[in-house]
Symmetry: C2
Subunit: 435 residues, 2 copies
Amino acid sequence: MKFNFKDTAIFKKEEISKSKDFLKPYFEYLKGVVSAGTYESPEASLNLPSDDDILTTVSNLVREKKTENLKYIFVLGIGGSNLGAKAVYEAIFGNLFLEKEDYPKIIFLDTNNPKLLYDVKEIIKNKLEKKDEVLINLISKSGTTTETIANFEVLYAFCREKFGRLEDRVVVTSDKNSKLWEAALKRGYALLEIPKNVGGRYSVFSAVGLFPLALCGIDISELVLGAKNMRDICLNFSDENPALNSAVLIYLHYKNGKNINNNFFFHSELESVGKWYRQLMGESIGKEKDNESNIKNIGITPTVTLGSIDLHSMAQLYLGGPKDKFTVFVSVDFENSDSGIKVPEEVEMKELASGVAGKDFNQIMNAILRGVKTAYKNKNRPYSEVILKDLKEDSIGRFLQFKMMEIMFLAKLLNINAFDQPNVEDYKKETKKLL
Amino acid sequence: MKFNFKDTAIFKKEEISKSKDFLKPYFEYLKGVVSAGTYESPEASLNLPSDDDILTTVSNLVREKKTENLKYIFVLGIGGSNLGAKAVYEAIFGNLFLEKEDYPKIIFLDTNNPKLLYDVKEIIKNKLEKKDEVLINLISKSGTTTETIANFEVLYAFCREKFGRLEDRVVVTSDKNSKLWEAALKRGYALLEIPKNVGGRYSVFSAVGLFPLALCGIDISELVLGAKNMRDICLNFSDENPALNSAVLIYLHYKNGKNINNNFFFHSELESVGKWYRQLMGESIGKEKDNESNIKNIGITPTVTLGSIDLHSMAQLYLGGPKDKFTVFVSVDFENSDSGIKVPEEVEMKELASGVAGKDFNQIMNAILRGVKTAYKNKNRPYSEVILKDLKEDSIGRFLQFKMMEIMFLAKLLNINAFDQPNVEDYKKETKKLL
């Protein structure tokens, strides 16, 4: 994984050093969290990638539940309970997995979407015969998430009608001793625990993410190994620390009026990685109050952009509009890799395709990305860059861990709490009155 | 379709009236454009919904190309060439259409995504036997879009290898006499014209959107009828004009420091409608120069949020973070309609699901939406509201037309050109040097 934090950095060395030095004590603290290896601190998620017990527990349950004819894994969860798994799943399997006959596949049920449930009903009716073709993974940290519980009841009723009772095809992932945990115990559903102090948006390397991913064949050892390696890099207070560099640049640009952080992925299959990061930044950095309870309304709005798709819809705004954005380009190393998909040498429409004839898709995307970066420079639009080795488990694990640590550093710089989300209650309490 | 522009409007009546009055002369001009019925003016797209020739041409070509066993329509286009069709397609068919056996279905190829093309290759190899199971719709207004031409050459090569030559299974949609038009004529591909002066982001009701949609059974007459009815409503200078009301509110909030326009859809299947609007606003409103060529860097950044999914990722930022957003909630009339998907009366987990037992999904979503609106009010976060009758053709047509006219009004208020995109060339010329 390569990084570029230099191209359009407009800040003086001293400014950058000052912000970095401010974080120095936090590094000592984080190293303490990791050497303790427990789940006591708010930064507990840092210990997930080196927790072998989780890998073992998840792998054992996968062996038990992964029947030979397993077709559909229904992952019921919303926000932190599904964004991580979805991000990794789509990064690895791409956008057309539903159209392919590769089983098992995951169908994610997040909000209460009637059309989706109608279609799920049809799938259960027409494509499935036995209960061991199905697995339901119900994920809720609190154990009381309205949409997740409602989806479970509807889905379970569909399944019961078709297969009869199927307690053994339900796996619940929750905080130990939540109401859901107790309910699951009583009914004989299998249980997976979310470690204490690991919040939803930091939980991808717990059973929340690992169980459904392992179930459909993703190499979770590689995923967490990548994460662990990146964690260890980002625990070093050094000029090569990518999470530190990234956090400082986002911070300084925010202080200079860039209230939008544009995450510009050059791979459509990373869209859900972008959505995962949206939650990570949105909930961790969007805060009414600072750490001393002063009302400050701090926050950076994360946006997700897909290259080259959104160049055809948003480039005009990005290059001509207000200078209110700091951009992070994310791509694989187009310059030094082939995708294997090539425009033929002998094209059908020579008069149009001569520029791309014989070119690998990575060469085309490289030309587009380079064109965009040059245009950003010419128009004084600041950006940094992350270049992944590939879109495999190790790389994705590294990227996610890099981002989680970047956000911890950024919150520290902004003097806010990266781990709470008090304003979510503002709407939930109103909703609860109505239900 | 219902609207609410009153709930959190913080502006004085006089301010609102002043902005509206400023637009009065523009209404006279637009009425002239519609009564002429031609494609001479930049606002030419207003005449698409009443152009019967387009409907006839499209319907005739659909009859010719829609073979009995048609399975896959590959729509090759990017930006304005596919966002409209994709928006309507997903709004009507939902998110799981790929998993269902309902044919024909559309696979959209926009950027040069190698993983997607690998999967498409596999589909062609394993799921198809004859060329009349496939139709390729190649859409490019300019006729020279790099990604679209590259995707076509790769896809055509796959198909040729399997089926032999298949000129009769290609339909090209382009500007008359573009290089692509000429190339298509020479090779005997069927041709559909994009009327002069209809830019990509305003082209959904031309053959660009209508042909692929009609091909997979969407009622395009209903779609354009809805659009036509909405157009006629929005041509009236009145206090009930939703496009006018919406444009003025977005304008005044932008002048008051809200540089983000958050489009908050309460239906996952409207995500692509949101992406269509992102282009419409991004390209039309993001401008380096005003109409007198003064450098102004004007622009509002459109974001797309999905309720209730993103409440679990973005609500904390929206309610606690900076007051830099004006929000538009879009939903169907939850309060007065049932979705048909209901949580059973007899639930599995009584201790958790008692609040939702027996409730229709629309009731649950209604409680959530109401909770969110109350929280927005309590936290002084401004919003307006659009309530669709349903998610059928007429409603979607109305919504898209409403938004296109809103953007025309908004650009007028900002003294910028809603119909050009000069800065897109900034990166394209750099990319072309490299290809």
